[in-house]
Amino acid sequence: MSGSVEAVLGADEDVGREPATPEIERGASLWRDAWHRLGKNKLALISLFVFIAIALFCVVGPFLSPWDSQQQDLMIGAQGPSATHWFGTDTLGRDLMVRVMEGGRISLMVGLIATLVALLIGVLYGATAGYLGGKTDAVMMRLVDILYALPFTIFVILLMVAFGRSLWLMFVAIGFVEWLSMARIVRSGVMALRKQEFIEAAVSLGYSHRRIILKHLIPNVLGPVIVVATLTVPAVMLLEAFLSFLGLGVQPPNASWGVLINEGQQNMEIFPWLLIFPAFFFALTLFSLNFLGDGLRDALDPKSARD
């Protein structure tokens, strides 16, 4: 998530793409204020670093490790942590550390991509509904209500049956469910903004609907959207773990944290490290993202921080 948070927070730099000479005051944007406030929040800052560390561990780690995640060694079987296998090995003798790293890659990827899908659909859909209002809004939001009412598991099982199991389908399936709440949040934000004079002024200056939605409304609701997105990533990762746990998600020999935790709990009493290591990283990631989300909420909406 950190990548896209920074991308959005840094986005104000390209807002003024004018030829700027160095001595021109750039003005302090609301984003910079929020960034500053976030910097003062120790817990959020630590969470951000923990999250980046985990992400680096998962992405870069496998290249540095001498072991291959698919390489079985049935002679040794499951072994506890040792100098050769830091996290131990699983029942097929595969190095658990590499499996945790690669599982993390998949879990994080699902979390980020599905959130991105949800973000894209949700923001555009919600902003359009909120801006147009009236009957269009009513129809669009009733559709959201209907989709909300669909049982998620059945929906995913149907998708899997219809299109076969694939990682990409899971991105789509989860993203497709998560955009609903995003759309609602954006819509309510846009509805509140729509009656403000600066939107009226934008209309009176001859801006088109598209331009107003994309350039004037969406940037104004990005604050809550970023918060929700940060909190959506762990939710999506949990969903993925849940699906994998049920056997609907990532298929062996690939592994996600959800798959590893599932394998681990089957052998929990004999080989506890198989559960402990993936669960630890998963929990740490969820914690850091949640704290980061809370911190962002306080930073982007200073009023809520006083509570």
Binding site: P19, E197, E200, G206
Partner: protein, 339 residues
């Protein structure tokens, strides 16, 4: 031919409780380079008339009748894309509250350049230079530095200057100023009005100035339209409206202006409230509040606008006794109230 000719404009709001006739047959003209004031109380339909000119009326409101001829083109018949060209390009608007009419998330430069590039062929650099020049002309010091600021870094008066600069950026033929000084304090108010006047002289822009402050009108407008309950009750040159008001409402409004000459402790206010526009007006809308002695119950059609003298017309009301001048009627009223 007049630059803008609004004829019998009607804008109704179709609410659940009934139809609100916010603007019910308003007509006026604006010549090139002229300043026309529209005055009236809150809820008399001033702003709705202006929004209707640019077709900025949202649901549940709808323009149900009349025509808005702008430079020979009926804006009520124009396509949406044509309207977008006119809005901001040939007719601009300034809003009441400068604190909320600039987008808080975009730099001033971004907002001004965006407008310019939309309506002119200027490239980024040229547009920026023009925007800086426009800010300098409205008296923003070090405009080339300040232009990259965000709206919240400006004070209220400065923001209204920025609004004026943005609105005049494309050199429109007509500027609609919807209570541009209401949210500002009195000293800033004078500065902003001076600025508007000065920019008008330079660019030859016509201005429609919506206000409920007759003092503002007296200082700036050539012609004045007095509105009450969604209709014109009187229109004329500023002199005619101020020195020879005909309609009881105009007279009462004028009495309500505090003056330095009169001494006393109570300021005159027009008694009562504007009528509920969701009910059809019987006869004269001002009847219940009219200080003149009543003659007949107001059950006829609304009074006709009649031409009094060249360029001065007013509703000719038959329901009250207008034989005595308003001063006499008012003094007796006030004394009664104190007894």
């Amino acid at each position: 031919m007049a630059l803008l000719h609004v004829q019998d404009l009607k804008t109704y709001f179709f609410m659940r409780g009934g139809v609100v006739r916010a603007v019910d047959g308003v007509s006026f003209e604006v010549e090139r380079g002229q300043t026309v004031g529209i005055v009236g109380e809150s809820g008399s339909g001033k702003s709705v008339s202006c929004y209707s000119i640019l077709r900025l009326i949202d649901e549940p409101g709808r323009i149900v009748g009349g025509s808005v001829m702008f430079d020979g083109e009926d804006l009520l018949q124009a396509t949406n894309s044509r309207m977008r060209e006119i809005r901001g390009g040939r007719i601009s608007m300034i809003f009441q509250d400068p604190m909320t009419s600039l987008n808080p998330f975009l730099r001033i430069s971004t907002q001004m350049v965006e407008t310019l590039r939309l309506h002119t062929d200027l490239d980024q650099r040229a547009a920026l230079h023009k925007a800086i020049a426009a800010l300098e002309e409205v008296g923003i010091a070090e405009a080339s530095k300040r232009i990259h600021s965000y709206p919240h870094e400006f004070s209220g008066g400065m923001r209204q200057r920025v609004m004026i600069a943005s609105a005049l950026l494309t050199e429109p033929d007509l500027l609609i100023a919807d209570e541009p000084t209401t949210a500002l304090d009195v000293t800033i108010q004078a500065q902003v009005l001076d600025l508007l006047k000065q920019r008008q002289e330079r660019l030859g822009t016509a201005i429609i100035l919506v206000t409920h402050d007759l003092g503002v009108v007296a200082g700036t407008c050539e012609r004045v339209n007095v509105m009450y309950a969604g209709r014109d009750v009187e229109s004329g040159t500023a002199d005619q409206i101020f020195y020879d008001p005909h309609h009881a409402y105009t007279q009462a409004l004028q009495k309500a202006i505090p003056s330095l000459q009169t001494k006393g402790d109570l300021l005159y206010t027009v008694p009562g409230m504007p009528p509920d526009l969701s009910k059809p007006v019987q006869g004269c809308a001002f009847y219940p509040r009219c200080p003149y002695p009543k003659l007949a119950p107001p059950d006829g059609p609304p009074p006709e606008l009649v031409v009094l003298t060249e360029g001065h017309c007013a509703q000719d009301c038959q329901y009250c006794d207008r034989s005595k001048p308003i001063e006499d009627v008012l003094t007796s009223d006030v004394t009664e109230a104190f007894e």
